[in-house]
Symmetry: D2
Subunit: 227 residues, 4 copies
Amino acid sequence: MPATLRERLRAAGAPLLEKIKDHPFFAGLRDGSLPGEALLHFARQDADFLLPAYGRGLARCAALTHDHTHALVLARMAVGTLEARQAMALGYDLMAAELERAGDASWRTRPADPSTHAYTSFFAAASASSLAEGIGALLPCSWFYLQIADDLRERHDPGARYAQWVSALHPGEDYREVLEGFLTLVDDLGESCSAGELERLEGNFALAARYEWGFVDAALRRLDWPV
Amino acid sequence: MPATLRERLRAAGAPLLEKIKDHPFFAGLRDGSLPGEALLHFARQDADFLLPAYGRGLARCAALTHDHTHALVLARMAVGTLEARQAMALGYDLMAAELERAGDASWRTRPADPSTHAYTSFFAAASASSLAEGIGALLPCSWFYLQIADDLRERHDPGARYAQWVSALHPGEDYREVLEGFLTLVDDLGESCSAGELERLEGNFALAARYEWGFVDAALRRLDWPV
Amino acid sequence: MPATLRERLRAAGAPLLEKIKDHPFFAGLRDGSLPGEALLHFARQDADFLLPAYGRGLARCAALTHDHTHALVLARMAVGTLEARQAMALGYDLMAAELERAGDASWRTRPADPSTHAYTSFFAAASASSLAEGIGALLPCSWFYLQIADDLRERHDPGARYAQWVSALHPGEDYREVLEGFLTLVDDLGESCSAGELERLEGNFALAARYEWGFVDAALRRLDWPV
Amino acid sequence: MPATLRERLRAAGAPLLEKIKDHPFFAGLRDGSLPGEALLHFARQDADFLLPAYGRGLARCAALTHDHTHALVLARMAVGTLEARQAMALGYDLMAAELERAGDASWRTRPADPSTHAYTSFFAAASASSLAEGIGALLPCSWFYLQIADDLRERHDPGARYAQWVSALHPGEDYREVLEGFLTLVDDLGESCSAGELERLEGNFALAARYEWGFVDAALRRLDWPV
């Protein structure tokens, strides 16, 4: 295995990342054809369920690492995630003023949809099991997010109805440095983990990539529980 | 709230328990119409993913309780679950000799299906969060199981092709006492938990009941990951 | 119990806090009579063992709370603690240039002393058990610290040899606001916890206050393991 | 490193194990010169604090391992420990009838002594951190215990006043098999852990051996908190 861990994960995750970028949810966000309710579902599930669980998973990993630099990287990301949650909760209120159809506020009161609930449970389960498993589960959410946000910014129709939200959803240029710190940590784990830990980290990364796809697919379909 | 916690949970869970008993998976197990592959999917997902996670969730809860009697109840259930896992893994090998269609052994090598993966993550997430949340998430799996096994035994067609498996899947009479210990613990929590903890316990119980339905529904459909 | 939880804890902790302020370690820091090795022992055990464990305990608690505001308070304190750790590690290098006796660098290579090891284990154990237990164990370290730092600043001899370290050890005025956020969280727990949780929180607070005393007593005596 | 992990740990722990066997507490237990209060302190701290924490640490490790056989070994040891706790609690009541000096029942109501509290916190902290760290911290308690019990049985004066307690404290021949299962797990970890994990496991083992000595030393001195 000559490549660093981040390179191996990048290669492993690329096909699914492309599938997510091309998912009708993001296509519709770029060209304005996405139903407003789908975007509200997405923003609310993100702000009220996904980001809170993501921040807590990062905090658990900060507690598990023995490396003080890694602990600081993860704790800062936890703070950033919990702050982003606040911003996104304000965001969906602003969106609602514009996008909510008269009388339909069900997106506000629904619980975590099945896909989001599974993903948030996975964040907690993995980061309660070991540092390596936690990092594998947590990496796609922030890593894919930046790449998707870049792709949206580049490919969206600036005249379409969601142009302002495409801008608002981008985490900003500072986020590249945050992510670089996370990926350095990932590479460090690639050097220090046992073979078994690495296999579990890579397995969780692959699962989390699937859950990333599931999250946007659920938003498009405004997924609800079957029973 | 005059009723004990177990009574409140029994009432809350009853409609979904009935729905599970009447699910085509169990109807087909009773009358022999269930495809063999669905039973193999069920047994393998149970032995290799659900029961291992259930035992570990119980072990986490044993570690969290401050009550020594409760700790012993939970640790013994963890042992029982891990032993049942061994038995079930032998069981699906026996089943396979009978039920596996020539050449189709895909049920053996598939990962946890999306429904099972979500449920097992939920066991770990809830029991890593607090005792009350863990107990809420863990209760339906054993409580519903006994009631479903009783129902299967009572209503199945003794001449139908799965009659022996209906017997084999029943946890036995000793299990009633195990469960009584668990339910006593639940009632004790009902007396000692804060209002917030109780709400989370009851919320997790309701979610776990949904996941119980999802587990058998996934087995019937031999659910696979969409991406 | 008419008082808020912080008031009850303040009253419960006051006698031990006074004992710590008047401990020969801090008396010697104020008047300059403290052996330099004791201060180096203190700074190194703090930077390399206590603060890293404190930050991780805070991160665990951030992961356990269901209140997003509390999660952010705790995650920010975790970041602040891990940053303070870096500063303290630089600090003991500066101290060493001044205080280290020729050839005696044993303070640098010693493991956590028995008192520090017990205290750091307690941080992790309590915050792995429940939010309330974690908060009880974690509160004295920051709450007492500010009060001790204020007391040192007020009562120290400005001409004595440690005057600059008395200043350097003070966490600064912004820390009052951080602590106010923590104490608001404590009061919120006082409103929402069950009686059993509150008892454990208060018991852990009392133990942590003892460990605070033990930490400075160990520094004065440069405590080592008996076997 | 040609030796298995158990052999390396055996060699590393041998000097301290000898020191514990020869500690005045056990010497006095063998020849009857030990004050009765010291034995009561030991039995009560063991039954009410050490064994409950040991059982919970084992349960946490059972939850962390991915190996189903290891999970069963650990969960069974957790059950055995929690059952031994019950027996020891009965035991100290029987001891008290014989050994308690008129009016002095303080051993019954004291909290965990500082040495026991540190050790129990360490069990929880280590097993909340990673499987390898937990196993390192938990191994000496059961491994040393059998060797000390064997040594006591062999070297004690059968006519001395504690002869019956020397017998009662021995875990029995079946315990050798339990321990063999634990040591097989340890050797498996020795094969599969990363270098960093192994170092932490071995470091925790060395600390736990120190805490084993501390536990009996505290019993002899009936250690209390300094503040």
